[in-house]
Amino acid sequence: MADGIVTLTSETFDEMVRGSDTPILVDFWAEWCGPCKQIAPVLAELATENKGKLTVAKLNVDDHGDIAMRFNVMSIPTLIVFKQGEPAKRLVGAKGKGQLVQELAEFL
């Protein structure tokens, strides 16, 4: 977890998401997706800047497609903010930091 981002798996997903005190932003990504890689540094910054207020996590859809399917993820990157274990907001497609900060404001 070098960049402050939690790596989720099919096995750890539910526990992490339901057990989180703070809102948790899950980044659905894959290795072959250019835009996913573009937002990686932005998410790392968000993780650092909002430590304690927001957890940033990522889930590789290649390896853990079942979770992606459960949440009807059809396009990546998809960012879903979970609050108290339930999806509270969904953002589809790569976005700049400014826009992400705006979208996440209500959770911080």
Binding site: G34, Q38, I39, S75, I76, G96, Q99
Partner: protein, 315 residues
């Protein structure tokens, strides 16, 4: 009061912008590149190649190279010689006087010269259902979304290399890919056409265009109309990939730089000079003929050389 002043400001970091960056950096001009923000369309750092997989026709890579990897390498090369990057979108420019001005929201950057390399982004179909269904079965990024269509029937709209490349890539996942093209001949390169015709999973629907996207929360089908006699039909598909071409990212320069009715910037033939002395344009933003990564890179080099010589002549 500007945040910083630069000899050269480059707007955009696709192959054109990054080549211009390498050359101007090596000429000790300390270029600043303002490259845009991450995005799933192609107006983003790295440009259109960020949305593709294998690039087989960029010289120097006999095994091919992944688009994002090629752009990462170009970026590293530019950084190595001192180019600086700001990963934000230019929101406004003023080229009416020197130094030239560019704003990122409230932050002002000034420069002695500007190289415009903002490239182009995917054209959409222009259907009312698009904004609702994008990311929900409608996509412009096969590499991002193809994965989710495993075993499904999908379509690719378009008839050029991009469309065929996307279709080819998508056959890795989809059960069937139908390419919908409004004419009966493709404008794609011969080699791509041959591969597509030989691919058992690819079918063609000629002389057709998509007139409606069906589905509430996600794509469940499309309506198509014949461009020959107007007859309509419905296809049950769960994915629609649009690859019908691009439009240049020149909104910022309307009323400032001369451009074609289609938006492409006009440069003096055989050079990268725009109608404003000291402002140069390179890459897809001023090229509707070739639009290749290598031609963009070539014109980026031309812009750097034009720019360097012009700056020198100012003293």
């Amino acid at each position: 009061m500007s945040t910083s002043h630069h000899r050269v400001l480059i707007i955009g970091s696709g192959p054109a912008g990054l080549t211009a960056a390498i050359y101007t950096a090596r000429a000790s001009l300390q270029p600043l590149i303002i490259e845009g923000e991450p995005s799933s369309t192609s107006d983003q750092p790295g440009g259109q190649l960020m949305l593709t997989t294998e690039v087989e026709n960029f010289p120097g890579f006999p095994e091919g190279i992944m688009g994002p990897e090629l752009m990462t390498r170009c970026r590293e090369q530019a950084a190595r010689f001192g180019a600086q990057f700001i990963t934000e979108k230019v929101t406004k420019v003023d080229f009416s006087a020197r130094p030239f001005k560019a704003w990122v929201r409230d932050t002002l950057y000034t420069a002695d010269s500007v190289i415009v390399s903002t490239g182009a982004q995917s054209l959409m179909l222009g259907l009312p259902e698009e904004s609702r269904l994008i990311g929900h079965g409608l996509s412009t990024c096969a590499t991002c979304d193809g994965f989710f269509f495993r075993g499904q029937n999908i379509v690719v709209v378009g008839g050029g290399d991009s469309a065929l490349e996307e279709a080819q890539f998508l056959t890795k996942f989809a059960a069937k890919v139908t390419i919908i093209h409004r004419r009966d001949t493709l404008r794609a390169s011969k080699i791509m056409q041959e591969r597509a015709f030989a691919n058992e999973k690819i079918e063609f629907l000629w002389n057709s265009q998509v007139t409606k996207l069906l589905g509430d929360e996600k794509v469940t089908g499309i309506e198509v109309a014949s461009t020959v006699d107007g007859t309509t039909s419905t296809l049950d598909v769960t994915g629609v990939f649009v690859a019908i071409g691009h439009k240049p990212n020149t909104g910022l320069f309307e009323g400032i730089l001369d451009m074609e009715p289609t938006g492409y910037l006009i440069t003096k033939p055989g050079s990268t000079y725009t109608n404003i002395e000291g402002v140069f344009a390179c890459g897809d933003v001023q090229d509707h003929t070739y639009r290749q990564a290598i031609t963009a890179a070539g014109s980026g080099c031309m812009a750097a050389i034009d720019c360097e010589r012009w700056l020198e002549a100012q003293h």
